[in-house]
C-alpha cells in the first residue's frame, strides 16, 4: 500500500515539474475560436527590376521599397549539408542551392510569370529561326574580388567547363541535340552568342546556369577533370571564393551551418542607388531531420521554415500571437503517382518480368481506369496531408506553366470502376472477390519505399480503396535501395507508389520518364537489350510530342504539344497521379520585402529582403 502511494507521489511530482516548464503556445484568454486566422495575406509584388546605368555601370535596380542595411536571415537545409561549393560539380539539391547562392546566371526566371528574364546579362535576344541566342552583358560590373565580369568569363564557363564535360555533365547531356552540342562565341567584350544546331527551346532555361570567374577557375580546369572534381570542395578556404551573387561564403562548419556574408560588389541596387543586399549575413543551418528543424524554428534559432501538412493547423492557430507570418505558396513540383508495370517482355533468363496473367490486367486500359476511379484522392489529401494538398490528375505539376487546365478532376466512382471491369470480363464471386475472365483471382503486390511515412499511409488507403473493388492487394513497403533496384534493374514488380520532382518551367526535364527509351520510363522500362522492342501507340505519340515540344520555339506551340502529352497520360493512365502537397512557409514578420511566389519560393529576392522593426 505504501509503495503504491510512493509511486503516485513520484508521478505527481514529475507531472508537476513538466507542467511548470511548459509555456503555453497560445495565451489561455485567447483561444483559437476568438480570432479567425483565415484571413489570406494579399501580396503586392513590386515592379520588375530595371536596368539603370550610372557612371557607365549597368546596374539592375530593385523596385521594392527601400529598407535598412544589416541583420541576418537564418534558414536551414535538411540532411548532411553541402558536398561541394562548386556549382558545376553538384549532384544533389542541397549542394546546388548552397553553391548557387554565390553565383548568378546570365538569366533567371521571373518568379511570378515563369518567363526567362536577364540577370547577370543586361539583355538577350533570340533569332527568328530560334537557333541564335545573343547575350549582352552589363558594363562595369565586378566579381567580389574587383575583377570585371566580361564575355571571357561566359565563354570560358560554357566552352571549357560545361560543354567540355567537366564536373556534373547533366546540363551538357540535356542539350545534346542529334548528337551535336551548341556552340558559344565571343562577339566583343560584352556580347556573347550561343548557337544551337537545331531550334531547341529548353536551351533558354540552361542560360540560368551560373557563370564562373575565369581567373579563378582556369588553373583548375587546366589540371584536368580529376582535379576539377575536388576543386572548390567543402574544404576550400572561404576567402578563395570569388563570386558574382549577392553573398559569398564566410564560414562552413561541417554538420552545423553555412554562413554567407554580403558581396560588396553586387550589381543590384535599390531605388536610392545603394548597393544591395541589405542583409549582412545569410545563414543556413544544417539540420538532420524535420523534427529538429521544427524545434529550432520554435526556439527562434531559425527564421524560415517549410511546414508539413500536419503542423500547419497548429501554426495557423499560433500565428496571431507570434512573430511569424504564414504564406501559402500553392502546390509543389512533386508528382506522387501509382504505376502498374506494363512490361510484357522477358528477361535474360527467358522468364517474364511480370507474371503473364497480371500482364493481361495491367495492359487493359479498363483495368487501369477502374483502379484510377477507385482511388479516393480527396480522402487521401484530407487524411494524409491534413487537407494541405491538391488532388492531382496530370503529369505536369499543378504549378507548371505548361499545365493542361482542360483536364478536369473527378471524384472516386466505384460504380464506374465496376462497369469498366465488367466490360473487360472481370467477375465477382459471392464474397465480392474479383476474378478475371480466365478465372484468376486478381491479386498483386503494391510496393513503395519503407520509411517514407507519407507514401506508406497512401499505400494503406489505396489498398483499402482497391479492396472495395474485390482486388487483393499485398502492400509491401520495402527498403528504398531495393525498390530502386526493382524499378530500374530487375523490373520484377507489379504496382508501385512513388513520386518524382518535376520542373514547373520545363516539361522536357521529364523526358527520361516519359519517353519510351528513357532511363526512368518506370512503367515500361527498356533495358539495353529491349531498346528496339515494340512500343504502345500512346508511347509512340508521347515520344513524338516530346521531340516536337523541344524543337518548337514559341511558347504557344510548345504548350500545344505538352497539352496533348498530358491528355494522353490522363486518358491512358500509365501513371495514376494521386496528389500534390501544398507548400506552406512560415517566416518571421521582422523581415520585409518578402514576396513569396509558387515558382520562386520565399527567398528568391534575397538581396531585397531586409530586417525592419
Amino acid at each position: 500500500m505504501r509503495r503504491v502511494l510512493y509511486v503516485i507521489l513520484v508521478i505527481i511530482l514529475v507531472i508537476g515539474l513538466l507542467k511548470a516548464c511548459i509555456k503555453r503556445d497560445i495565451p489561455e484568454s485567447d483561444t483559437i475560436s476568438t480570432k479567425n486566422p483565415s484571413t489570406e495575406i494579399k501580396i503586392t509584388y513590386p515592379e520588375d527590376q530595371k536596368n539603370v546605368t550610372i557612371n557607365g555601370i549597368d546596374y539592375l535596380q530593385s523596385q521594392a521599397s527601400i529598407g535598412q542595411f544589416g541583420g541576418t536571415l537564418t534558414s536551414s537545409t535538411i540532411g548532411e549539408g553541402p558536398k561541394t561549393f562548386n556549382p558545376f560539380n553538384t549532384k544533389d539539391n542541397i549542394s546546388s542551392m548552397l553553391s548557387e547562392v554565390m553565383y548568378d546566371g546570365l538569366l533567371t526566371t521571373n518568379p511570378v510569370t515563369g518567363q526567362p528574364i536577364p540577370k547577370l546579362a543586361k539583355s538577350f535576344s533570340i533569332s527568328d529561326d530560334g537557333k541564335e541566342y545573343t547575350i549582352n552583358l552589363r558594363h562595369g560590373i565586378k566579381w567580389s574580388d574587383g575583377k570585371p565580369i566580361t564575355a571571357d568569363d561566359v565563354v570560358f564557363t560554357w566552352r571549357d567547363i560545361i560543354l567540355a564535360g567537366l564536373g556534373n555533365t547533366s546540363i551538357r547531356d540535356s542539350i545534346i541535340i542529334d548528337g551535336k552540342l551548341p556552340t558559344v562565341e565571343k562577339i566583343d567584350d560584352y556580347t556573347v552568342k550561343f548557337i544551337t544546331p537545331e531550334p531547341f527551346a529548353p536551351f533558354i532555361r540552361m542560360l540560368s546556369t551560373p557563370i564562373a570567374p575565369k581567373h579563378i577557375f582556369e588553373p583548375a580546369v587546366k589540371k584536368g577533370s580529376e582535379y576539377f572534381d575536388t576543386f572548390l570542395s567543402t574544404n576550400t578556404k572561404p576567402e578563395n571564393f570569388v563570386t558574382s551573387g549577392a553573398f559569398k561564403l564566410k564560414e562552413y562548419v561541417p554538420a552545423q551551418r553555412v554562413v554567407y556574408e554580403r558581396n560588396p560588389n553586387y550589381y543590384i541596387i535599390n531605388k536610392n542607388n545603394e548597393k544591395l543586399p541589405y542583409l549582412d549575413k545569410l545563414v543556413y543551418l544544417i539540420v538532420g531531420d524535420l523534427n529538429n528543424e521544427v524545434l529550432k524554428f520554435e526556439a527562434k534559432e531559425l527564421d524560415v521554415i517549410n511546414l508539413q501538412g500536419s503542423k500547419v493547423a497548429r501554426y495557423k492557430a499560433m500565428e496571431p500571437h507570434s512573430d511569424f507570418v504564414i504564406y501559402n505558396l500553392g502546390p509543389n513540383t512533386g508528382t506522387m503517382y501509382l504505376a502498374m508495370n506494363l512490361n510484357n517482355r522477358k528477361n535474360d533468363k527467358g522468364n517474364f518480368y511480370v507474371d503473364p496473367k497480371k500482364q493481361v490486367w495491367f495492359n487493359d486500359l479498363n483495368f487501369r481506369k477502374a483502379v484510377d476511379y477507385a482511388v479516393d484522392r480527396k480522402n487521401i489529401v484530407l487524411n494524409i496531408a491534413n487537407g494541405i494538398g491538391e488532388p492531382l490528375f496530370t503529369a505536369e505539376s499543378l504549378n507548371s506553366i505548361f499545365l493542361n487546365k482542360n483536364l478536369k478532376p473527378y471524384d472516386k466512382d466505384l460504380e464506374k470502376s465496376r462497369e469498366l471491369l465488367k466490360k473487360s470480363g472481370f467477375k465477382w464471386d459471392k464474397q465480392g472477390r474479383l476474378y478475371d475472365k480466365f478465372g484468376n483471382r486478381v491479386e498483386f503486390d503494391m510496393l513503395t519505399n519503407a520509411g517514407n511515412t507519407e507514401r506508406e499511409a497512401i499505400g494503406v488507403m489505396i489498398k483499402q480503396d482497391l479492396e472495395d473493388l474485390g482486388m487483393k492487394v499485398n502492400f509491401k513497403p520495402i527498403e528504398f535501395n531495393s525498390l530502386v533496384n526493382k524499378l530500374v534493374n530487375t523490373l520484377d514488380w507489379d504496382v508501385v507508389i512513388m513520386g518524382f520532382t518535376g520542373s514547373p518551367l520545363e516539361p522536357n526535364g521529364g523526358k527520361n520518364v516519359m519517353m519510351s527509351d528513357g532511363t526512368l520510363h518506370v512503367y515500361n522500362m527498356r533495358p539495353e537489350k529491349d531498346k528496339n522492342s515494340p512500343r504502345y501507340d500512346f508511347e509512340k505519340r508521347i515520344d513524338e510530342l516530346f521531340i516536337k515540344g523541344a524543337l518548337a520555339t514559341k511558347f504557344e506551340d510548345r504548350k500545344k504539344y505538352y497539352d496533348e502529352y498530358q491528355k494522353i497520360v490522363y486518358e491512358e493512365k500509365p501513371f495514376i497521379y494521386i496528389y500534390s502537397p501544398t507548400v506552406i512557409v512560415a517566416i518571421r514578420d521582422k523581415f520585409k520585402n518578402v514576396f513569396p511566389t509558387s515558382l520562386g519560393g520565399v527567398t528568391y529576392n534575397i538581396e531585397e529582403i531586409y530586417v525592419g522593426e
Binding site: 549532384k91 543551418l285 538532420g288 528504398f480 530500374v488 526512368l520
Partner: protein, 323 residues
Amino acid sequence: MEIYKYIVKRILQTIPLLIIVSLISFFIIRLSPVDPLAELRLNPSVSQETLQKESQRLGLDKPIIIQYGKWAKSFIKGDLGITSNGEKVSTKLKERIPNTILLTIIVIFLTWITGIPLGILAALKWKTSFDRILTVLTSIGMAIPSFFFAVLLLIFAVKTGWFPIGGLTSANFADMTFVGQVKDIAHHLVLPVTVLFTLSLAGLQRQMRANMLDVLDSDYVKFARAKGLSEFKVIYKHALRNAVNPLITLLGFEFAGLLSGAALTEYVFQYPGLGRLILEAVLKSDINLVMASLMMGAIMLVMGNLIADILLIITDPRIRVKS
C-alpha cells in the same frame, strides 16, 4: 622485459583479428542490397553516362573481391580513400573526431569522478535510505532509453528557451571573443552531456557498489577489521584497491567507446560528431567511410583492452605472478 614481450605478442595477435573484422564488414556492406547510386538513379535529370561514370569512379563495376583488395592495399599504405562524394575520408574524420572526443571525454571524466565515490558510499551505507534513493535514481538512469531522454530534454529546451536546440556552436560563433566561444560550447554541451552522463553514471555506480560489497564481505577485510585497523584504513587501503580491479577492464572499454560511443544521442542533438557521420554513411553504403570507422573502432577496442591489461599487470601483483 617480460612486459614488453607481452605487449608485442598482443599487438601481433591483433593483426589477424583486424583482417577478419575488415573482411566481414566489407562483405556485409557490399552484399547488402544498398546501392550508393540509388538516389541518382531516381533523379530524372541524371543521364546514363553520369551513372556509368559514377559507378566506375566508385569501383562498383568490379567484383567484390577485387574491390576489397584495392581497399586493403590502400588502407595498409595509410590511405583511407575517398567518400562517395569524392571527399577524402581522412579529412572527413578529422573534422569530426575532435568534437566527439570533446563530448566523450567530458562524459567519461564526469561519470568516473562522481560514479566511483557514489558507488563506494552506496556500498558503505548499504541498505540505508541513501543507498535506496541512489538505487532508484540509477535504475531510472539505466532504464530510460537515451534517444527518448534526449528528445525530452530537447522539448524542455524549446519550451524554456534556456538551452540551444542541438549543435555545438551558435551561428555567430566566429565573431565571439575566446571566453565567449568557450561559454557558447559549454552551453551547447550541457544537454548531450546530461543524457550520456545519466546513462553511464548508472552503470558505473552500480558496478562499483557491487564490487565494493563483494570485497567488504571477503575474509581479508574481516581479518583487517578483527586486527583492529581503523575503518578508514580498512576501506581505502584494503577494500578499495581490490574493488577497483574490474573497473580497470571497464576503463579499457570506455577507451574504445571514445570515438564510437554516442551515435543516437549525437543524432538527436544534431551534434557534429563521428556517430552522426557514420550513421549517415552506413545508410548510404559509403563504403570507405564506413570501413574507416569500423576499423578505427576495432583498433580502439583492441588498444583499450591492451591498455587495461597492462594497467592490471601494474596494479595487481597476482596477475604479474601468474604471467
